[in-house]
Symmetry: C2
Subunit: 260 residues, 2 copies
DNA sequence: TTTCCGAAAGCTGTACACAACTCGAAATGG
DNA sequence: CCATTTCGAGTTGTGTACAGCTTTCGGAAA
C-alpha cells in the first residue's frame, strides 16, 4: 500500500511534471510498456496532462494576458491535434478558473478583481497553516537539496532582478513546498488556489518595486529553506502564511489602484 | 457590487440547482432572454450544469454503486444528446474524483479506501472551522426557514428511518450550511470534498446502525439549527466539525472492516 | 449625418464516423 | 488436456463537418 494507493483521488489533476517539465520516461511511452496498474500512465493521458501544464503556464506567466481571446483551432493546429481533445484541456482550465468559454464569442483568459481575490487569499493563508498541521512530511534529502538550489537561485535573482525568472522561481518554490505535505487533497486545492492568484500578482508587479519584491521573496525562500533543513515544517508553513498575508497587503496598497 | 461580481471564480462549477433540482427559470430559457451579463446563463451551460448535478446525485446516492461501468452511448441516448457534450460532463465528474475513464475499458465509478479518505476527512474538519471563521454570513430569513424545515424533516426521519431519505437530507443539510459562508472558493472546495466522502459513508451504512445514525444526524441538524437561529455561525461550524469527526470515527470502528 | 437593419464572418457547441485500445472467448497447435 | 495465439465485441479517444450564437461591418433610410 505505497504511494500508488491514493492515485484515484489525485486522478482529478493531470500528472504533475513540474514547471521545468523535463520529459519523464520517454522510453516507457515509446515502447508501450506503461504500467497497466496506473490509470494515469496512458499515451492519451500523457498528452492531456502535458497540454494542461503547458497552457496553464502560458496563462500564469502572462504569455496569454487576461482578456486574451484564444482560438481553439489555432491551438489545436499548433499542437498537431484536433479541436476535440484540445477542448478537454480547455475545459479543465475553465474548471480551474483560468478560462471562460462563451459560444459565439471565444475562449477568454479570465481577469479577476482584487476584491474577489481577497477571499482566495484568506483561504490560502489558512491552507498554508494546514500544510504544517495536517500530515507534514519530514523532508527527504531530495527536498532539502531542491530547497537549497531554489535559495541559491533566489539570491542570484536578487542581484539581477527579472520579472519572468521571478515568476518561474515563485512557481517552482510553491511546488517544492508542496512536497512537505502528505495530504494529497490539500496539495491539490492549494495548487488550484495558488495558480488562481499568482498571475494577478504578476500582472500588478509593474505597479510595485520589482527589486524590493525579489529581495523579499529571496528572504522568504531563505527562511523557509532554513526551517525545512531543520525539519520544522510547521515553522515553514507559518513563514509561508506570513508572506502570503504581506504579499496581499502590498498588493492592496500599491497594486490595487485603477491600473494602466 | 452584489453577488454577481464573483461569478468568474465560481465559473468552475456548474450552477448549483440544489439537490431538489426544481427547474429554475424555464420561461427565461425558452424565450432566450437570459441575462447576457452572466456567462453561466446560456442554454448550453444550463444543460451542462443540470447533467452534472444529475449524474453526481446518481453516483452519490449509489444509483451507480462504486465499480459500475457507465456507457457513454447509453447515457447520451438517455438524455437525448450526443456523446460529445456528455463527455464534457463525465470529464468534470472525473475531475471531482467520482469517475475514472480508461480507454478500451470504460467509465468506472471510483471506489476509495477509508485510508485515503482519512486525509479528506481531516481536511473537511479544518474547512468546517473555516466556514465559521472566514466571512461568516449572518443568516437571512430564508436560511433560517430552510434550517427549520430540515430540522423538522430530521425529526420525521428519526421516527421512520430510511437510507435514501437520510442521504438526501444529508446533502440538503450540507447545502443549507454552505449558505452561511460568504467565501465562494471555500464553498466550492467544501462541496467537492463533501461529495467525495458522502457516498463512501452511505456505502458503509449497512455495517452501522441506521436508526442510531439517523438519530445522531437529527441531533446535529437540531444543534446547528439552534446556532443558526442565534446567528452564531462559528458555533454552528464547531458543531459541524465535531460531527464530521465523530462520523469518521464511527466509520473506522464499525464500517471499516473487510466489507461484504 | 445619424440610425437602424441585415448579411457575413468567426467563434464555440454538437453530432457522427472512425481510429486506438482492452479484454475475453474461441480456435489452434503442442 | 493444456498452453498459446488470434480474432472479435465493446469501449473510450480523435478527426471532421455542421449547427447555433455573437459580433461586426456595410448600406439604406430618416
Amino acid at each position: 500500500m505505497g504511494r500508488t494507493a491514493n492515485c484515484l483521488i489525485a486522478a482529478a489533476r493531470p500528472r504533475n511534471l513540474g514547471p521545468g517539465g523535463h520529459g519523464g520516461t520517454p522510453e516507457a511511452e515509446r515502447h508501450g510498456i506503461s504500467n497497466p496498474k496506473d490509470p494515469q500512465t496512458s499515451p492519451a493521458r500523457e498528452r492531456y496532462a502535458l497540454l494542461c501544464d503547458t497552457l496553464r503556464d502560458r496563462i500564469c506567466l502572462l504569455d496569454y494576458p487576461p482578456g486574451t481571446r484564444l482560438s481553439e483551432e489555432a491551438l489545436a493546429s499548433e499542437f498537431g491535434i484536433s479541436r476535440t481533445p484540445l477542448r478537454r484541456v480547455l475545459g479543465w482550465l475553465e474548471s480551474q478558473g483560468l478560462l471562460v468559454s462563451v459560444q459565439g464569442v471565444g475562449t477568454i483568459v479570465t481577469d479577476v478583481e482584487l476584491e474577489e481575490l481577497a477571499q482566495v487569499y484568506q483561504l490560502r493563508m489558512e491552507l498554508a497553516d494546514l500544510i504544517g498541521k495536517l500530515s507534514p512530511l519530514p523532508p527527504d534529502a531530495e527536498t532539502v537539496a531542491l530547497m537549497r538550489s531554489l535559495r541559491q537561485r533566489g539570491q542570484k535573482l536578487a542581484a539581477e532582478p527579472d520579472t519572468r525568472s521571478f515568476a518561474r522561481l515563485n512557481i517552482e518554490f510553491f511546488h517544492a513546498l508542496m512536497r512537505c505535505s502528505g495530504n494529497a487533497p490539500l496539495r491539490e486545492i492549494s495548487e488550484r488556489l495558488y495558480y488562481q492568484t499568482t498571475r494577478i500578482w504578476l500582472k500588478s508587479i509593474s505597479h510595485l518595486d520589482l527589486a524590493e519584491e525579489v529581495a523579499i521573496f529571496a528572504d522568504e525562500i531563505n527562511d523557509v529553506c532554513t526551517a525545512v533543513e531543520l525539519g520544522d515544517i510547521m515553522a515553514a508553513a507559518s513563514i509561508r502564511r506570513a508572506h502570503i498575508s504581506m504579499s496581499f497587503w502590498r498588493l492592496g496598497q500599491n497594486g490595487g489602484g485603477p491600473a494602466e
